[in-house]
């Protein structure tokens, strides 16, 4: 629905930040979030819409752990 991609904040200039996506640097508007240098943000149409709390690998591990719990009849709290 909405193409978005994670990138690392490498420079902050007021409402704008330079964000690195695998060695591609874009200027991104950060007025919708409050990233710090080094944070990963989710970029949609030139704008950061989120500060990411986990990296992709961590998330997959977490996911598989959750599913393990549920498989065994222990659904998590999230609903």
């Amino acid at each position: 629905m909405c193409v978005a991609v994670p990138g690392k904040v490498i420079e902050i200039n007021g409402p704008k930040a330079k964000v690195d996506v695998m060695n591609n640097t874009c200027d991104v508007d950060i007025r919708l979030v409050q990233p710090k240098l080094g944070d990963y943000v989710l970029i949609h149409a030139g704008c950061a819409i989120d500060v990411l709390s986990k990296d992709a690998a961590e998330e997959i591990l977490w996911m598989f752990n959750e599913l393990e719990e549920e498989m065994n009849g222990h659904p998590g709290a999230d609903r």
């Binding site: 909405c2 193409v3 991609v5 695998m22 060695n23 591609n24 640097t25 149409a45």
Partner: protein, 325 residues
């Protein structure tokens, strides 16, 4: 200086443009004669092709429209197993084009022609109304070294080699247009040396094609259609740099459909695949070459995905534009 319509009239201004830019840089005895046509020696059967080049912006990381115009045509000749020998160059300049820019392009064309071992032996210049764009047509003649190479010649059991990373030309162009900073340079390069390497290694090449507009997805579908076979490729074998992956994820593009200007596929007998790969990888333009798939019985192009799934690979529809969704 801005080139205006009077430079296309065929009179004094046209010949000043020809002298000050084209003869100065292309400079060779055949062209310098300024006859109606070049008179040339060729050996045996010839390969003959044409392409026009209309890229915006004219200059980009890794080259300019002039480099493209030479590479595009010598590559098409090389793909038929021919040694490129002679080029023609037709320039269509929109009024407003800058003569210094044109001169830089001509200089690059000469350098690239020298690397590719060809001479630019005939040319033409027209000026049309517009907003300063420069279009270049080149045609080329080469001498056939190996007969029978054809898009219709792929056989079951053949392996498909790709000479290197996907998407670099398209990404370099789009980076300029969209203001994304990176180190991606166009892969634009003359590929005859790669072809020569394969032939010298004794590979019985069945088919070659440069992977340009429409991208790998489109070229593989052409192979499947023309040779009446199925092409099967593995996602995990496709060489794509991290930087291109990042770039594509920003704009929602797919490397399978992005244009390259210095990449080719070669379809070779399965048993010669490793040897062909080694020959490619010895050449700097083939350093990242991979065996990406095989020719099977059937139709169309299928991909085995990284997760082990299977899906169709169709040709490109429309243009590769940035998407929101």
């Amino acid at each position: 200086m801005k080139i205006d319509l009077s430079y296309g009239s065929g009179g004094k201004q046209t010949s000043s443009l020809i002298n000050d830019i084209f003869l100065k840089h292309f400079d060779n005895p055949v062209l310098n004669r300024l006859e109606d046509a070049a008179v040339l020696d060729v050996q045996g059967r010839i390969a003959y092709t044409t392409d026009s080049f209309v890229v915006t912006p004219l200059f980009f990381k890794g080259g300019n429209i002039g480099k493209l115009a030479v590479c595009g045509t010598v590559n098409d000749l090389a793909m038929m197993g021919a040694r490129p020998r002679y080029l023609t160059a037709g320039f269509i300049l929109e009024a407003g084009a800058d003569s210094q820019v044109l001169e830089q392009i001509a200089q690059t064309m000469r350098e690239t022609a020298d690397e590719a071992g060809v001479q630019i032996v005939a040319g033409d210049t027209k000026v049309v109304e517009g907003s300063g764009n420069i279009y270049i047509n080149t045609s080329g003649v080469g001498e056939i070294l190996k007969e029978g190479i054809s898009i219709a010649n792929c056989q079951e059991g053949d392996c498909i080699l790709l000479s290197g990373n996907l998407g670099e030309h398209h990404a370099a162009i789009m980076s300029e247009r969209m203001g994304i900073e990176n180190n991606i340079a166009s892969d634009c390069a003359p590929l005859f040396s790669l072809v020569e390497g394969l032939l010298e290694a004794g590979i019985d090449v069945h088919c070659m094609r440069d992977v340009t507009r429409g991208g790998l997805g489109t070229v593989l579908n052409e192979v499947a259609d023309s040779s009446a076979c199925q092409v099967e490729i593995r996602e995990t074998s496709l060489p794509v740099s991290k930087e291109i992956q990042g770039f594509c994820s920003i704009l929602g593009l797919d490397p399978l459909y992005m244009a390259n200007e210095g990449k080719m596929i070669a379809v070779v007998p399965g048993e010669q695949a490793e040897q062909a790969l080694a020959a490619m990888q010895r050449n700097p333009y083939g350093a990242y070459a991979q065996i990406i798939g095989r020719i099977e019985k059937g139709a169309g192009v299928r991909m085995i995905t990284a997760l082990g799934g299977s899906r169709a690979v169709d040709i490109l529809y429309g243009e590769g534009l940035p998407r929101i969704c």
